[in-house]
């Protein structure tokens, strides 16, 4: 199965019942497969007039208590930024799959890239946090789509599966593990008309789904716990937006996932998504090199990174962009004591080949 198809199966497996999308290379297979598979699963899949409408529709669907998803690539993801911010502000659980292609603009539709890493975090205006997962295989397209739904439901936050053209179109097998967990958002048990956004120290309010008589008002404007607009009080704004950010940052250790090999090695390769497949090949023949693979990009696994950087002498970050996650790695690694943090960029649509990585490392360790 293709990565994109495995993504659909993951979504359906975890109980996604609503999909809205707009055709775009290299993510179209998701919209196509959803069109027939969702019908079989008793949900609704619809192709809308654009990506703006697609994300709007899944947010609407989510407010009825339905697990909902959309899929796109860079140009469509750019259009979604407006309502991505809306979903953050209204704390709506949704999943967005971004199968990255070369940018900026329409760029390279059929080629892979990792150019949207920072956009997933900073693309919409204002302060907010999202959760972003980076699959590197067909298996992970299935697994991490499920994980994305679980995290999105748990923290009431838009969660992004940040794939790319290579992973989306890669063909392979995947297995369905027996111990897959399903997490559903916590629904309000009491009537919450005036307390729609009240929450405990977990910082995630219970969800008052529409049609239950809660009579809640949900707005993208700054609101207090009642949900009503309160747009001029500085304290209310600070309290709300700080909580939206803290509910993710405070749980960053629970959310973040990494794959680490040879953590005590002098040289550590930091990678995620497609290029990690080349890195694995390099590692299989060079046992003195370490791996730090990000499965969660945001929130960034800062604790693990610090730990690695304490002993590493050289950290090389491989990215299919001109440096995005690199700046985060460099900042943390330098603080932890590793002074040699370098970037190995590759853009144009091809991943770093194993021999290129070896060549790059040759003067350092081999």
């Amino acid at each position: 199965m293709q990565g994109n198809e495995a993504c659909v199966e993951g979504a359906l497996y975890v109980g996604c019942k609503f999909f809205a999308g707009y055709p775009i290379t290299p993510a179209t297979e998701i919209t196509e497969r959803m069109a027939w598979r969702m019908h079989e699963m008793g949900g609704v899949s619809i192709q809308l007039e654009d990506e703006i409408a697609s994300i709007a529709a899944i947010i609407g669907a989510s407010w009825t208590g339905t697990k909902a998803m959309t899929a796109t690539s860079g140009p469509g993801f750019s259009l979604m930024q407006e309502n991505l911010g809306y979903a953050c502000m209204t704390e709506t659980p949704i999943v967005i799959v971004n199968v990255q292609r070369g940018g900026p603009s329409t760029g390279q539709p059929t080629k892979a890239s990792q150019g949207d890493v920072m956009q997933t975090r900073w693309g919409s205006h204002g302060d907010y946090e999202t959760i972003v997962l980076a699959p590197n295989s067909v298996q992970e397209m299935f697994d991490l789509t499920i994980e994305a739904f679980n995290l999105s439901e748990k923290y009431r936050v838009p969660t992004i599966v940040l794939s790319d053209a290579d992973i989306g179109h890669m063909r392979g097998k995947f297995t369905v593990s027996e111990d897959i967990k399903f997490i559903d958002r916590k629904y309000c048990t009491k009537h919450v008309e005036h307390n729609a956004f009240i929450c405990d120290e977990g910082l995630v309010p219970e969800f008052p789904k529409f049609g239950q008589g809660h009579r809640v008002h949900i707005t993208g404007l700054t609101h207090d716990v009642s949900g009503y607009p309160k747009t001029t009080d500085p304290e209310i704004h600070a309290k709300l937006v700080s909580r939206l950010v803290k509910k993710i940052r405070n749980h960053s250790n629970e959310i973040s996932r990494t794959e680490i090999l040879n953590p005590k090695a002098d040289t550590i390769l930091v990678t995620y998504g497609s290029p990690s497949n080349s890195v694995f090949e390099v590692l299989s023949e060079n046992h003195n090199i370490g791996l730090f693979r990000l499965i969660t990009l945001w929130p960034f696994p800062e604790t693990e990174m610090k730990q690695i950087a304490k002993t590493a002498k050289h950290i090389l970050v491989l990215e299919m962009n001109l440096g995005q996650i690199y700046w985060e790695v460099e900042r943390i690694a330098r603080q932890a004591g590793c002074q040699k943090v370098e970037l190995f960029s590759k853009i144009g649509g091809e991943i770093h080949k194993p021999d290129e990585i070896i060549k790059r490392l040759k003067n350092e360790v081999l």
Binding site: I46, A53, S54, T64, Y86, F210
Partner: protein, 267 residues
């Protein structure tokens, strides 16, 4: 349910200007809603941005105040995910005719079971009186200091052409007919569109020699002509939107099966 029960009274005083037509529009809607015996707890009110976008925050029901121009897209998601819910959209001429134009025409075409109510006051009221896609030719706004040089949209005719199941337009003067048409729109299957031409004395009237709400109101009344009658007139363009008259009445009533039914949503 009495029609007053639908007001979210703890939100008073409301934010609308003195003389605004939204009060009339809301009263007509509430009366129609109450008389239709619909359940407020099984109805969701969705809106976009602008003065009209604030209407759902004064309604005692689940409501989603969304982004500029997008309410129809959000509303479609709600309806498809839970067809048991009645979904009503409040929007304005800026929200619907400009930034949300694509969602509007495709919404009409797609025919999801929604009731869309547009308060058309010919102006961007909340941002201070800028020209809108429905501002009549030659009229003054804060961004057309030499008069509007563009021809306006006729939102109802757009809805008819785009395939909406039910399209009606009245002004805030025609309260009885408006209430009747809203009732019809609420029970009508598929996409129904109600355009309410409304006075904005603060931003539109003031700049166009109509200082008081009453003057704008009289102007709406004077320039309105029944749709049926308008067809017998020989003018080229009959509605005020194209420098003629405001045609009012029911523009189309189709019986296309609602999208929700066509696809047979299972729940």
């Amino acid at each position: 349910m009495k029609f007053f029960d639908l007001y979210r009274k703890d939100r008073w005083p409301h934010m609308f200007c003195p003389g605004c037509g939204i009060g009339t529009a809301m009263n007509c809607f509430f009366r129609a809603f109450a008389e239709s015996r619909l359940n407020q707890d099984k109805t969701v009110f969705v809106s976009g941005i602008g003065c009209s976008g604030r209407i759902p925050s004064y309604i005692l029901a689940d409501s989603l105040h969304t982004t500029h121009g997008r309410p129809i897209a959000f509303a479609g998601g709600i309806k498809l995910a839970n067809p048991e819910l009645k979904v009503v959209v409040f929007t304005g001429d800026g929200d619907l005719g400009a930034i949300g134009g694509n969602h509007f025409i495709n919404g009409c075409r797609r025919n999801i079971d929604l009731t869309v109510i547009c308060i058309n006051n010919y102006i961007y009221g909340m941002t201070g009186g800028q020209v809108s896609t429905t501002t009549p030719f030659g009229y003054y706004t804060s961004t057309t200091p030499y008069g509007n040089k563009e021809y306006p949209f006729d939102l109802s005719e757009v809805a008819v052409a785009a395939g909406a199941n039910y399209v009606t337009r009245w002004t805030t003067y025609h309260v009885k007919s408006l209430t009747k048409s809203i009732k019809k729109a609420l029970v009508k299957d598929g996409f129904s569109f109600v355009e309410i031409v409304s006075q904005c004395p603060t931003q539109f009237g003031r700049r166009n020699d109509m200082i008081s709400a009453r003057q704008v109101f009289e102007w709406l009344k004077k320039n309105s002509v029944l749709h049926k009658k308008a067809h017998t007139l020989v003018e080229d363009h009959l509605d005020l939107n194209l420098m003629g008259k405001i045609t009012v009445g029911e523009f189309v009533e189709r019986n296309r099966e609602a999208y929700t039914k066509v696809i047979g949503v299972r729940k």
